[in-house]
Every structure is written in structure tokens, then in C-alpha cells.
């Protein structure tokens, strides 16, 4: 292995130059950092700048039988960060491939390379007329667009299904050939940019959540901005209102879904966590009562047991009618519904600015959060979304530096199952999550985000301090218990971390037999991301 690796490394060095082939332990450390205690042996890191370099890298890897592991930027926090699934892989860090091209202002399409980040795309779109929304997520400005889309991430603005917005892909296969869709092969590249399925079998999809090739570019469809954007917040009163919240969200999405982005149902503890620090001291004194303490704190902070947050995008002529219909759907229950536009938030802020700084601290804090939500909903990524990762660190969020939860020593696993938008199932699921988190002493911060009018994804952050060995172990056990127990009640994660890949693959099942025969056919040497969504 070592011999093969060093021979390959020599060739890579002559291809890329010394500085773009990292083999020093010190240089590799950055890639080994993670938000869990996972440890992977990494052979080397390669930093190509072009597709042709990727092709050459793959050919060298094939020649020496060395496994590669492509990452876009390695900011897959909570799922393994930059770490490969298997030991001894050579990481292909695509972050230097960050060109934007083929932007069509009229059609709202753009071709991006793997290194393009949310922040970069957002700046670019702002400079070029500000007509389109950047697909923002809760991973912040430094996370890549392409990596997220290929992992089938979802975001806060339409098109919130990021994989759906991929119109076409360019992929370097294990034999070094470059895959494009069938219509592209016919010389009609412009058609490929505006139509997802192409002609012939829909093969592009096999390059998402898989290990069949290295995606070097993709064209994505952008959603045009509307004249009016407002966020809406519905506050519920009782814990038992969850079922009503599910029914209301489903109704909104069925009847007004085309005007709304993803809608989230958020519990009190998550709301409270966004606004207050973890009460280390109080809980240390009485760890058995952690959940009760947190719940009481949330109550004192004025956070409702459940709140729905969503945003509306509409033409100025119809926005009032849409809001009226939305109010009608929520009904005459004692639940409060509020609409906030940028203008309204700005007005409140202006008033607060005139008052002494010490006054209305809670409102000031909330306005900050609302401004953040407004930014995210208008496609401006914000770094603050990452604060949740720092919640269990005694030092809190570091000031004055770019946040990177893996480098900053955070501990977080994401458990993100998807579940049908049915009140009884959601209820059972929430009870299960609360009970499981409780059993492992983990704060149950629950969010249900709609992926469609039929389906929620529920991103549960399992936050811990990796330096606290006991807590770290509890966190991991909690994740395993959530996955296993979730499965028993009929829900399963929509994406997996590197340590969970073995759990998903069931070799005796036809799906995985098909996956394996495709893998054997396309990558007989298994040099592409061994073990990733694969045996």
C-alpha cells in the first residue's frame, strides 16, 4: 500500500507540483478534524485546479490502485467533515475548483464547480442584478453548493430540494472518461442546462449519495426573486398542539405551497437554544433535571412549546391575498400568526436604536434572529446558523474568526430522518426523540422542516463537547439509538455520516445488489470513495 501510494504521489507531484500534494502529517491534520471523535488515516491530499487535472489524478490512481476520496470543501459537519469513510484514502480536495460560468440572467441557470460556496454564489448573484435566490442552508457561507446538492441537502429558500435543482452534471469516471448527459452528447448543451431529465435512462441521479465518480461541475437552476418576501411565524400554546401544527403546515403547503418556502416546526428548546446560552452551572448542580431546567428556561424566555416558521414569496399584486388565505388556514384558534417583512423589522430596529442599549434585551435579541431568518429567506447565507454547534463548548462561540466547527473542536452529530407529514407519526416520532435524548442526557432540540407537502426532514443536532469523553460517548450512543429506534417506528435518515454507511447497506437486498453491480461495472478497482453508500 505504502509503496503504491508513494509511487502514485510522485506522479501526482509532477502533475500538480509539490504544494498541491499534501503528505505531511501536519498538513493532513486539518482534514482529520471532525465534530466527532472519528479518526481516519489519510494517505495524502491532492488539490486539483481543473477538470483535466482530476482526470489525470484518477488515471494515476487507477494505475497504482490507490483509493481516492473527493470532497468539495470538507465542511460536511455532523456527518464526518472531510474524513473518508475508509482509512488510507487519498483525499481529492476540490475547493480550488471554484469557477462560476454560463450564468444566464434571463433563464436563471449557472454552472458551478465543486468549490463554489454559498457565500461566493450569493455575492456573485448580488453583483449580477440580484434577480435570483442563492440556495442557502444552515451550514453557513463557507459550505459548498455542489457538495450539498449531491448529498441531497435541502435549504431555506425555493428551490429547497437542492438535488432537484441540478440540471446536469459533469463526472469523471474511474477510467478517466468524462460523463455528460445524453443530450449533451448530441451537442445540445443549452438544452441540458434547462431540463433535468434529458433523454434516455436518468443516469445523473446515480452520482448523488454514491461513489461512482467525481463530479467536477454542475448546472443548477435558480429561483427568481419575487417583489415581496415576508416570513411568517405561528406560535402554538400547548405541547399537544404539535398535531395541529402538522395539519396546518400540510394545509399551507397543499394550498399555498407555491408561494412558500420550506416551513419548519420548531420546539421550545430549539428556540431557546438559538437565543440563550446553555445553563452549564445550573445543570451541573442538578444533572438529572436537565430537561426540566431547559424547558423552564424556555418558558421564562417566552418561547412557545411549538412554533412554525416559513417564508412567503409573492408578486406585489397577490401578496395580500396570499396572506389573507394563510390566516384563514391557520384559523381562529388562539394561535398567533405574525408576518415580518424586511421593512417591518427595520422599523422595529430603528425604534430600538433610539432607546438605551440596556433596555428590551430580549426583543433586541429576537430582532437579531428575525433579521437572520429574513437574510436566509432572501438567499443571504449567515454564519450564525453554525452557533448551535458550539452550544456544549464551555468557551462558546469564538469571536473574530471564521467559524469552522470541526477545526474549532465542536462536537455534533446530525440525525436527519425524513418522515411522512402525518400527525400521528410525527407525534410518535417526537415522543421517541425526546425520550431517547433524555435517556442519554442530550438536549432534544427538535425541528421538522418540510421537504414537500407530504414529507418532513427532521434535523436533530446531537451536540456535545468532544473533550468530555463521557458526553461524547453518550452522544454517539444516542445517535445509534435514534437511528435504530427511528427505524423501528418507520423513519430513516435522509443522509448518513461516514460511520453510519455500514448501517444502510443491506447486501442481500436487490437495491444494494444493483448498486454493487453498477459499482463493479463502473469502478472495478474500487478506487472511488470506497465504502461511501456502498459496501
Amino acid at each position: 500500500m505504502l509503496n503504491k501510494l508513494s509511487s502514485a504521489a510522485l506522479e501526482w507531484q509532477s502533475l500538480l507540483g509539490q504544494e498541491r500534494v499534501k503528505i505531511q502529517t501536519e498538513d493532513l491534520k486539518r482534514y482529520q478534524a471532525d465534530t466527532s471523535r472519528v479518526e481516519r488515516v489519510i494517505g495524502a491530499v491532492l488539490l486539483p485546479k481543473t477538470r483535466d487535472e482530476v482526470v489525470a489524478i484518477v488515471k494515476i490512481a487507477a494505475l497504482y490502485g490507490v483509493a481516492l476520496y473527493p470532497i468539495s470543501k470538507g465542511n460536511n459537519w455532523g456527518h464526518g467533515s472531510a474524513n473518508p469513510v475508509m482509512n488510507d484514502c487519498v483525499i481529492v480536495d476540490l475547493s480550488q475548483m471554484n469557477a462560476l460560468s454560463r450564468f444566464d440572467t434571463e433563464l436563471g441557470i449557472i454552472t458551478i464547480e465543486p468549490g463554489v460556496t454559498q457565500g461566493q454564489l450569493s455575492d456573485f448573484l448580488l453583483k449580477n442584478g440580484d434577480f435570483y435566490l442563492t440556495p442557502t442552508t444552515s451550514a453557513g457561507p463557507n459550505a459548498t453548493i455542489l457538495g450539498n446538492a449531491l448529498e441531497r441537502g435541502f435549504g431555506l429558500v425555493p428551490v429547497s430540494d437542492h438535488f432537484l435543482s441540478i440540471m446536469n452534471l459533469e463526472v469523471v469516471l474511474a477510467d478517466g472518461s468524462v460523463y455528460h448527459s445524453a443530450i449533451h452528447a448530441k451537442g445540445c448543451a443549452d438544452v441540458c442546462d434547462v431540463f433535468k431529465w434529458g433523454i434516455g435512462p436518468y443516469i445523473d441521479g446515480i452520482f448523488s449519495q454514491s461513489n461512482f465518480g467525481i463530479v467536477t461541475a454542475a448546472t443548477i437552476a435558480l429561483k427568481p426573486k419575487q417583489d415581496c418576501m415576508e416570513i411568517f411565524i405561528i406560535e402554538f400554546i400547548d405541547q399537544e398542539d404539535l398535531e395541529s401544527a402538522v395539519v396546518i403546515v400540510r394545509k399551507i403547503l397543499k394550498e399555498l405551497g407555491c408561494f412558500a418556502s420550506a416551513i419548519s416546526i420548531v420546539n421550545d428548546l430549539r428556540l431557546s437554544a438559538m437565543n440563550t446560552n446553555y445553563p452549564f452551572e445550573v445543570i451541573k448542580k442538578n444533572p438529572q433535571q436537565a430537561k426540566a431546567i431547559l424547558r423552564k428556561l424556555a418558558q421564562e424566555g417566552g418561547f412557545p412549546p411549538w412554533a412554525c416558521v416559513g417564508s412567503l414569496y409573492a408578486h406585489r399584486y397577490v401578496v395580500d391575498a396570499v396572506k389573507k388565505e394563510l390566516k384563514k388556514l391557520v384559523g381562529h384558534k388562539p394561535w398567533k400568526i405574525q408576518f415580518v417583512s424586511k421593512a417591518k423589522a427595520g422599523m422595529i430596529e430603528a425604534v430600538l436604536d433610539r432607546l438605551p442599549k440596556g433596555m428590551f434585551k430580549t426583543i433586541r435579541n429576537r430582532i437579531d434572529k428575525i433579521n437572520m431568518t429574513l437574510d436566509l429567506a432572501s438567499g443571504r447565507p449567515r454564519e450564525e446558523v453554525l452557533h448551535i454547534c458550539y452550544r456544549q463548548l464551555p468557551g462558546g462561540v469564538p469571536q473574530g474568526k471564521t467559524l469552522n466547527p470541526a477545526q474549532d473542536g465542536c462536537g455534533i452529530y446530525w440525525y436527519v430522518p425524513f418522515l411522512p407529514m402525518q400527525a400521528d407519526i410525527v407525534n410518535r416520532y417526537v415522543n421517541f426523540v425526546e425520550a431517547t435524548c433524555d435517556a442519554y442526557g442530550i438536549e432534544p432540540m427538535i425541528v421538522l422542516t418540510s421537504l414537500s407537502e407530504r414529507c418532513f426532514a427532521s434535523p436533530i443536532p446531537i451536540v456535545f463537547d468532544p473533550k468530555n469523553i463521557d458526553q461524547a460517548k453518550r452522544a454517539k450512543d444516542c445517535l445509534n439509538a435514534l437511528i435504530e429506534g427511528g427505524r423501528a417506528i418507520g423513519v430513516y435518515p435522509h443522509r448518513l455520516g461516514i460511520e453510519m454507511m455500514e448501517d444502510v447497506v443491506e447486501p442481500e437486498h436487490a437495491f444494494w445488489a444493483v448498486q454493487q453491480s453498477i459499482k463493479d461495472a463502473l469502478d472495478p478497482q474500487n478506487i472511488m470513495s470506497p465504502g461511501r453508500y456502498s459496501r
Binding site: I183, G205, C258, F418, P420, R454, I518
Partner: protein, 530 residues
């Protein structure tokens, strides 16, 4: 082999007689295929037995849902010597979820059958309706990535999960299903792990025996709008206008169609067989003149609003303002308004021209379609080049059986004004060359892309016209490709043109085919070299 099939299915469901195979050989594109037999399984298990038998005996199978793939080969296999697996008897509807808008269908379930089912379930969801009529299969259309006339128009996108029988007889289901999470499997399209379901669309990797599709909720209100543009020179402006309407009001509009004057003419008046023989002007020019006389402007744009009454009311105002600088008027139509006008006209039935009355009768056909009520009205077009015209009974039209001639040329056209102009000019010139009516419609697939449907109609008993139609189709395909547009699906005779194994895409396709179906028993030649 046939005896063994009989052992599985009984005599009745294995047909080898020439007479019995004849309906399967009928087609609108004039293809001729040798068909070994037709078998009619009734269940997934019977499909598995058939596949295993075919696998052991190296017999090629060719599954069809209903065989109503008119304009693309109908029921005919891509290659000679196949056994057609006719799935029309597998027509179970199950798993209806009134809250989630989900339903599971087998291949034989038709638009008409689903519409009836949903109507009986309180009419809460729209049937994915196409112009193919009530006898078109839902599953077949979705797998061919067909487009419909109501929201959730991308029928393949609506496929949430599917079950397929592979060449070795195993049953493919998604990875989530393998985890025992069947409900989740049905609510989320992509599942977990590589998205493999998509491999079973437009391909020959297996036999899909059922699928769950998402349904669009029936809205409170549907209202159709029309506007037309006065001059051919306004084409570019109209494309931009359509795109801007979709950008601003796409939330309420499923699709906007730009319909050419000749297409509209074809829907209201019979083909002028005799006039056109004697005309001294060009073929297309003559037809355009006639369209003008009938009052049709070069382009008519049609779309429907779906949603709440109050929101549509506001959107109508916005639309009027938007359209005003470009077109004289916008007409809004609802079912209630048409019925009212019809009633109003009844007393004057004798006084007004028959054709106007008929126009109002006909208006209900597109309105029905836009409300997710399938009907065969759109199929009448296929009969246009037959001198005998449309059969009296339009409730059971079957263009292949009835001897119609039709190729569908349906390229995807990016919504760029300059490209659309080039495309239209090219289609008209090519049609002129071959004396084929250029019946052009551009239907928006999104605010970024049109799918243009150009039916190439001919009379198969007229061999000269048949040759011209074929040549016209070939030239449209190749010339269109050079312009940068290409169809979204292929007829059985087009597969050879499409597959180019030097390209990595088709190399990957071939590797997958070899891995999943090494003997090549599944639909040989369908979106595939083998």
C-alpha cells in the same frame, strides 16, 4: 417456450395467432415488427415467472403498459423477435392516502380509471391528464417522462417510488424500503443512497410493476386565460412575456402554451385537401392565409390559474397589466362561464352559425383537460390527414388501430427568444419543403424551457405522403439538433439515432445494461444499442 408460458398463464393469456397479434403491430409511424407472442400477466408473480422463463430460454421480452404510445411506435417493440408482455390486466389502484395525496398504480391503470377512482374519493386530487386520452396508462406515461396538462405536470417527477422486476427475476425496491420504512419510501422521491429509481425511466433495465405517485390537490378554483399577438414579428416579445409571466405568477400557473395559428386552425376546420392542390402560393403560406381568414392570429397563448379564488382574482389584475402593452385583450374562461354562455346561446341555436355553437361545445374539451378530467378530444387531431375524418364515436379513438399516420417531434427548446425564432423558422421551412402542416405548439416546462410539440400528420395509405412525413421527421430531428434543440423522448425508430456508444453516457448505460441484464432479454434496443 410458448408451451411453458401457457403453463404459467393458461391459453387465454398467451397469444401467438397472427390475428391476435395484429392489433399490436398497428402503428401510426408505419413501422413493421416481427412479434413472437403476446402474454398477459395478471400479477407481479406472474411477471416474475415470465421473466425467469425468458431468462432461461434466452427469449426477449418487451413490456408495454397499454401500448398506446402513439406517434412513438404504439405497442411495437424496438427490435424484432420479442414477446410482448402486455401489462394492461394489471390495473390495481391501491394505497390511496387522502391526506398526503399519494396513490399506487399498476401499469394497466389508465387516466380514465384513475379519474373515476379519485372522483369517487371526494374529488380531492387532480388526475395527471395528457392529450393521449382516457385509455393512456399513467405508469407508462410517467416512465417515458411524459408531460401533462395539470399541476405536477412533470409525471416522472411525481413518481415517489417504484417496484421493478429485474432480468434475473428479483424485485427491485428502494433502499428505504429495504429498511422496512415503507411509508417514508412513498413520501420522498430520492430515498437514501444513489438515486437508482431513475434508471428505470426511458430504459430497458427491468419491468416496472407498480409505482407510487404524488397527486396535486384539486384547487378551489381553475381559470383559463387566453391572449393573442397580432403580428408574426411579435414572436420574440411574446416569448419574453411568457417567461416573465411564469417568473412572476408561476406559483399559480402550471404551464403556458404558445399555439400557432395553424395548430388552432387544425382544431376547428378540416384540412383543405382540394384547395391546397390547386394553390399557386406556397403550402404553408396558403394555410396561413386560411388561418387569418378564420380569425386566428399568429400566436395564441393559453394558460390556467390554479388556486384560491381570492388570489386568482388578484393575479388576474396583475396579468392584465402585464399583458396590456403586448396584446389587445386577455380572455378569462371558467367552466361556469362557458356553461352560462352555452345556455344563453341555446334559444338562438337556429339563428347563429352552427360553427360558433360548435366552438362553444368544443371549449369544454380543453377546460376538462385543464381540470384533470381526461377526454379523447385531443386525439381527433391524429385523423386530420385521413379523408374519411374522425370516427363518429369519439369516445374510443385509437389512432394506431384506425390507420392514422403520426410522428411526434417534441424537442425541448430553451426559453430564449432568438432561439425560438430560429426554431420556428426552421420548422416552417422544413415542413414547407415536405408539404407537411407545421402544427407548432410551445408548452412551457418551466420558466426556463419549452417543450415544443409538432405532430407530423399523414395518411399511411398515401405512400408518397408517408415518405415525405418520414423524411420531414428525420430532417427536423437532425436540423433541430444542429440548432441546439433535441426531443425529450424517442420513438422506436429513433433509438439508433440516439445511442452513440462512443459517448461516456452510453458507455455507462451499456455497462449497467450488461451488469443487470447480461443476456439482453429486456426490451432490446430500447434506449440502448442492445
Amino acid at each position: 417456450m410458448i408451451e411453458k408460458m401457457v403453463a404459467i398463464l393458461d391459453d387465454e393469456r398467451v397469444k401467438t395467432n397472427d390475428e391476435d397479434l395484429k392489433p399490436y403491430r398497428a402503428d401510426t409511424t408505419g413501422v413493421k415488427r416481427d412479434i413472437l407472442a403476446v402474454v398477459y400477466p395478471k400479477s407481479r408473480d406472474e411477471v416474475i415467472s415470465i421473466v425467469k422463463l425468458a431468462h432461461e430460454n434466452n427469449i426477449s421480452l418487451y413490456p408495454v403498459s397499454k401500448g398506446n404510445n402513439w406517434g412513438y411506435g404504439s405497442a411495437n417493440p424496438a427490435s424484432d423477435g420479442c414477446v410482448i408482455v402486455m401489462l394492461s390486466e394489471m390495473k390495481k389502484i391501491s394505497g390511496y392516502e387522502p391526506h398526503l395525496g399519494l396513490i399506487t398504480v399498476e401499469p394497466g391503470v389508465t387516466q380514465g380509471q384513475l379519474a373515476k377512482f379519485l372522483l369517487e374519493k371526494n374529488d380531492k386530487y387532480l388526475t395527471p391528464t395528457t392529450g393521449a386520452g382516457p385509455e393512456g396508462s399513467i405508469l407508462g406515461n410517467a416512465l417515458e417522462r411524459g408531460y401533462g396538462l395539470v399541476p405536477l405536470a412533470d409525471h416522472f417527477f411525481a413518481v415517489m417510488s417504484l417496484e421493478a422486476i429485474l432480468a434475473d427475476g428479483t424485485i427491485y425496491r428502494s433502499a428505504i424500503n429495504a429498511k422496512g420504512c415503507e411509508v417514508v419510501d412513498r413520501v420522498y422521491k430520492w430515498g437514501i443512497g444513489p438515486y437508482l429509481d431513475g434508471l428505470f425511466s426511458q430504459s430497458n433495465f427491468g419491468i416496472v410493476t407498480q409505482m407510487t405517485i404524488g397527486l396535486a390537490p384539486r384547487p378551489e378554483h381553475v381559470e383559463t386565460f387566453f391572449f393573442d399577438v397580432a403580428s408574426e414579428a411579435d414572436l420574440e416579445k411574446t416569448v419574453d412575456l411568457v417567461r416573465n409571466i411564469l417568473i412572476e405568477h408561476g406559483a399559480l400557473i402550471s404551464s403556458i402554451k404558445m399555439i400557432s395559428a395553424l395548430q388552432l386552425l387544425s382544431m376547428s376546420l378540416p384540412f383543405p385537401f382540394d384547395d391546397i392542390e390547386n394553390t399557386s402560393e406556397g403550402f404553408v403560406a396558403h394555410l396561413k392565409k386560411q388561418a387569418k381568414k378564420a380569425g386566428y392570429r399568429p400566436w395564441t397563448c393559453v394558460g390556467s390559474f390554479y388556486g384560491q379564488r381570492s388570489i386568482i382574482k388578484a393575479a388576474k389584475r396583475a396579468l392584465k397589466t402585464k399583458i396590456k402593452p403586448h396584446a389587445k385583450r386577455v380572455i378569462f374562461l371558467t367552466r361556469a362561464r362557458v356553461l352560462f354562455l352555452q345556455k344563453l346561446l341555446v334559444p338562438f341555436r337556429g339563428l347563429i352559425k352552427g360553427s360558433l355553437f360548435m366552438q362553444f361545445q368544443k371549449m369544454l374539451i380543453p377546460l376538462d383537460l385543464s381540470e384533470g378530467r381526461p377526454n379523447g378530444g385531443a386525439l381527433a387531431l391524429c385523423y386530420r390527414q385521413l379523408r374519411r375524418g374522425v370516427p363518429e364515436d369519439i369516445s374510443n379513438l385509437n389512432p394506431a388501430r384506425d390507420g392514422c399516420g403520426l410522428f411526434w417531434y417534441a424537442p425541448l427548446v430553451p426559453m430564449k427568444a432568438a432561439l425560438v425564432r430560429k426554431f420556428i423558422t426552421f420548422v416552417e421551412a422544413t415542413c414547407e419543403k415536405y408539404r407537411i402542416e407545421p402544427l407548432i405548439t410551445l408548452s412551457s416546462v418551466s420558466e426556463k424551457c419549452f417543450d415544443s410539440t409538432v405532430p407530423i400528420l399523414f395518411d399511411p395509405s398515401n405512400s408518397d405522403q408517408t415518405e415525405r412525413a418520414k423524411a420531414c421527421f428525420q430532417e427536423l430531428l437532425e436540423g433541430g439538433r444542429q440548432l441546439g434543440v433535441y426531443p425529450y423522448r424517442a420513438g422506436i425508430d429513433m433509438m439508433k439515432d440516439l445511442v452513440d456508444e462512443k459517448q461516456p453516457f452510453w458507455a455507462v448505460q451499456r455497462l449497467i445494461k450488461k451488469a443487470l441484464d447480461p443476456k439482453g432479454i429486456m426490451s432490446p434496443g430500447r434506449y440502448s444499442k442492445q
